[in-house]
Amino acid sequence: MPLIAKQIYFGFLFLTFCIYSFFVYTSDTPSDAKELMTTDAQAGKLLFQQNNCFTCHQFYGLGGYMGPDLTNVISSPGKGEIYARALIMSGTQKMPNYHLKEQEVNSIIAYLKYVDKTGVSPTMKYTINSDGSVNYNE
């Protein structure tokens, strides 16, 4: 393969990649996710990262496997804010008690409430199409 052909293909691919990345960065997300997080939820997000909660928990099925997916912990039947708050404050056999202050717990709850509004995980309602694609949570 001549050098120029390789360079042209590489250049074309990279340019396409940059345009594609731009569209991914600016693509629409569900209307609820467009609402900016409250200051409290933003603090909760940082606490989530600082305590490495993702090492055990998931959002939308992405993260660790030790604990449950927390995307809809606030709205799931039998769970909810009180349940989440109790577990954060006391810990479990698998989850340590991080001894968070009340304000920090409130922030994490605010963050979980925000995430809960953005979508549904795991997928419970779906249609599988003949080409192998799926319509999620219709």
Partner: protein, 442 residues
């Protein structure tokens, strides 16, 4: 000590990082099935230690290979030996800080890079130095680059791109929209894996070519077409991670389409199977070749799995389950580690004055089989656990606790196979590591 042996120093440190990563991984697996084990170093510290050390192994050994091969085999002395040494020292210093940050529970990053974001700066700077050194060095060679030089250059360039992209979350535009942030995070992570695959597969082609003594392998049309197909997948084939995220449908469709182009690679492997098999029998006595043969088989297995979970109808049941872990660990151990061990054996045999003793060689060969057999058990356990979890949650609508209780026995077998695999890798790694360290001391 590293002045004349920069490549060897990198891979020795890489082998130590591999053993460290396996140690923390084994403890983390034990904590997964028996909560409360070793409470002084809990799971949320162990897992990042395991992941970061294994990622360090991948980078140290692939970068070490490039530093070794360029002057020794490609006839391109490094543009700056000093920059290479600074790269090494920055890597060690940052690595120590990252490990300490985990031990003391100081996090703040995202998956793969859980350390406080400030530590990304030295990693970024050292990589720029490495890239500058690499391109300055290879631009002195003939213009008709073999494919592995393209692959190494691509891997270096795209690592910088994806590493930067993985820190876009620090900007409020991304950070304050969870769907966008997760989308971009997994776009970056997908391409990041693609970028290290470029470094590793380039190394595999290089080692294979040197063992065969046939310099035309890396200049064939098929080698370049395969590279370009891999590059296309690096850029656009990542979205199977986020199929169930409420993003726009075109992102999923486009990625699904691109992922399916890997069927060409699968067909190529099957097509070449017969000749690969007869050739492998001929050179199987060469230690580094032995690992390349194992990698070839694991590529077939993992590529088949990757193709299957890229089909949205299957991904629906496998996403967020241990099948994803099987895909990640199967690729990291079965493909990447096998290839990088082949490279380490090749370099250490070349650099050391003495051959392995018969006893050492016997230990390595036994370790090789223990390693591969236990990896197969490990992999199958994850597939079974993942299938049970996927069906349990999506079809049977079981709770997380119910599913975990159901799959716990299979995870105990998985943990046990992990420990056996650790023993196998120790048997494989200790003899060459001892040889490399004694060579560095000279």
């Amino acid at each position: 000590m590293i002045k004349k042996n920069l490549g060897l120093a990198f891979i020795s440190l890489g082998l130590i990082a591999l053993l460290g990563g396996l140690l923390f991984g084994s403890i983390a697996a034990l904590q997964f099935v028996f909560p409360g084990t070793l409470d002084s170093l809990p799971f949320y510290k162990n897992r990042p230690l395991h992941v970061s050390l294994v990622v360090a192994w991948v980078f140290l050994s692939s970068v070490g290979g490039i530093y070794y091969y360029l002057p020794k085999f490609i006839g391109a002395p490094l543009h700056s030996e000093r920059a290479g040494r600074i790269h090494f020292y920055i890597f060690i210093l940052t690595g120590i800080l990252v490990i300490f940050s985990y031990f003391f529970g100081k996090f703040g990053g995202r998956e793969y890079w859980e350390f406080p974001p400030i530590l990304a700066i030295p990693i970024f700077i050292s990589w720029i130095m490495f890239g500058w050194n690499y391109f300055k060095t290879v631009f002195t060679t003939a213009k008709n680059w073999p494919v592995y030089q393209w692959m190494w250059g691509t891997g270096i360039f795209f690592f910088l791109f994806t590493f930067t992209e993985s820190y876009l979350w620090v900007l409020p535009y991304f950070r304050n929209n969870v769907v966008r942030e997760i989308t971009v995070q997994w776009k970056a992570n997908g391409a990041l894996v693609g970028s290290w695959n470029m470094l590793i597969y380039g190394t595999a082609i290089f080692v294979m070519e040197k063992i065969k003594g046939d310099n035309s392998i890396s200049r064939t049309k098929i080698a370049f077409l395969t590279y370009l197909l891999g590059l296309t997948n690096l850029m656009f084939g990542w979205a199977h991670h986020i199929y169930n995220l409420p993003t726009e449908q075109w992102i999923r469709y486009f990625s699904y389409l691109i992922s399916m182009t890997e069927l060409i690679l699968l067909a190529k492997i099957i097509w070449n199977w017969k000749s690969t098999l007869s050739e492998s029998k001929k050179d199987f006595h060469i230690l580094s070749y032995r690992f390349l043969v194992a990698a070839d088989i694991w590529i077939f297995i993992n590529l088949t799995l990757a193709l299957l979970i890229s089909i949205p109808a299957i991904n629906l049941f496998t996403h967020g389950t241990h099948i994803t872990v099987a895909h990640a660990m199967g690729s990291m151990i079965g493909i990447n580690t096998m290839i990088l061990l082949a490279s380490c054996f090749f370099i250490i045999s070349d650099a050391a004055d003495k051959n392995y003793t018969p006893g050492e060689e016997k230990t390595i060969k036994r370790g090789y089989w223990i390693f591969n057999t236990s990896l197969l058990v490990f992999f199958v356990c994850l597939i079974i656990a993942g299938a049970e979890k996927g069906i349990g949650i999506v079809v049977e609508k079981l709770s997380f606790a119910e599913v975990m209780a159901k799959i716990n026995p299979i995870l105990i077998v998985f943990t046990f196979s992990g420990f056996v695999m650790f023993v196998g890798i120790l048997m494989v790694v200790i003899p060459p590591l001892k040889k490399a360290i004694s060579q560095l001391r000279k």
